[in-house]
Symmetry: C2
């Protein structure tokens, strides 16, 4: 037998309504309005109600509800910044990999035609050119004929396998470009001000070094300035070596071309730190304006 | 005025015929038979003839002929073994690269669906499966549905860029397989006995570590046994640490599965060393027979 609703108790499973003898009357997510007279239990009442849940069936429900909450929390913890960080890490990997394979390709191809390999410095262009069908004509134009080459006379199948590697390298470069496009779109969406100021790749690298968007937002400008120069910074702190003046942001054209790089880095870091705060709290877009101002100041 | 042919002199430019007063009568590659009476100059005559070539026009010709000879020598120095070494190096590179990218892919994909990534250990299969169009059904079968995953709910474009990386990894694995096929064909052609005994990849790696086919052929069996364990060997020689017992050939199934690995490695190295000599001098094919004998002995 149950009496009138007296206590209202909410835990991670649901909301429960008890009478004065701690018998369960009702439960559900949206029953707060239905039992307006019920109050939150306190003291002895709370003790009795907590005791009520000390049953195997509830333990199981607690367990399930807990996992559900944890899963949801993990799910929601993945923001756009995590995706951007993964993408920019992949781009870095692909860059290193393409370079490594391109060096291997050159070494291999040089057994066949060393003169041609030496005449083209850019790796991507080299892979592009040797897989061209109209390569022979191109070679004639540059005056490097394959028969006059000091490279070995290879069978077609020996050349084909070299070109297979060249095709792979081309594909890696293409994937890298596509990832960069994705980073650009995602950065423009999530961090329009940072992107306008620093560019999408530098912006994404800053996110990556900071660890997350929130962490980057909370960083003082002086830390942003040195992101990516951690090794030099700790050497400075430990051994008293010179303090580094810039990290990743040295890659920014405004800093790289500046006469006083340290000063330019400081100014850029100031603006990026501000932009991160604006972006994080979905403020207005003033990135273009900031960039123009900065350009004028540094010049 | 020129007299009768007296001297015949050959250098890298051509063959020259002189009269008694050292005037040039004729020159060309195939004129030896035409002037049978001419003799090789000696002493004073040789001195005079060498002096004759000390003219700017001949210096230019010497220079050109020299470059031609050098180019030909370089061209001819490239054997099949160089190509195989390049290919096997590329395969090693691709292996490392595919692993590295696959780890990156997993980390990225786990933001979306960690349960699925954890359920498949093999990298190549993982890249294969997540790019499958019928993936959804597969997930249902394995009981891992994407909506119940603790991974984030991503937009399609966020997933597409992850799959782009997966496609790249698949392509790298495919290129690796094609290079291995090439190595297999090339090894079977150039080193049939080594290939039958050790397999094409181990054989190619031995070539690579030896530096060339000739060097491998000249190596004693004990050196072949330790190819690829150079670091441990030098540590042994320097610090008196334990001597390594096998290098690359440990990868061979007969050695890897043997109870006494050191003994099996020694026996295999003996046979490979013999096979290298047979292959180098284009001997008969007895690789299959040797392999059978070896298998019986080790077991």
């Amino acid at each position: 037998m149950t009496g009138q609703a007296k206590y209202r108790f909410t835990n991670i499973i649901s909301t429960f309504i008890f009478d004065a003898d701690f018998n369960l009357i009702d439960k559900g997510e949206d029953i707060k309005g239905k039992y307006k007279e019920a109050v939150k239990p306190e003291g002895r009442a709370l003790y009795n109600i907590l005791k009520y849940f000390n049953k195997p069936e509830y333990l199981k429900q607690f367990y399930k509800a807990n996992i559900k909450i944890t899963k949801r929390a993990i799910k929601e913890s993945t923001g756009k910044d995590n995706l951007i960080i993964q993408a920019v890490n992949s781009v870095e990997d692909l860059k290193v990999i393409a370079n490594k394979l391109a060096k291997r390709l050159r070494e291999w191809y040089e057994l066949y035609n060393p003169e041609f390999s030496r005449s083209i410095a850019d790796h991507a262009r080299f892979a592009e050119l040797i897989t061209l069908k109209s390569r022979i004509e191109l070679l004639k134009k540059t005056g490097i004929s394959e028969s006059a080459s000091m490279g070995a006379d290879l069978e077609q199948k020996d050349i084909d396998v070299i070109l297979l590697l060249a095709e792979e390298i081309k594909a890696i470069y293409k994937t890298k470009v596509n990832l960069e496009k994705y980073i650009n779109t995602a950065m423009t969406e999530s961090c329009p001000n940072i992107t306008a100021l620093a560019g999408s790749i530098i912006g994404a690298k800053l996110l990556e070094h900071a660890g997350s968007f929130k962490k980057l937002m909370l960083m003082p400008a002086s830390t942003v300035q040195l992101l990516g120069a951690e090794k030099a910074l700790f050497r400075h702190l430990k051994t008293g070596a010179r303090c580094p003046k810039y990290g990743i942001i040295l890659q920014h054209p405004l800093v790289a071309k500046a006469k006083d790089k340290a000063k330019a880095a400081r100014m850029l870091a100031d603006k990026i730190s501000l932009a991160a705060k604006i972006d994080y709290f979905k403020g207005d877009f003033i990135g273009d304006k900031m960039r123009k101002e900065l350009g004028a100041k540094i010049r």
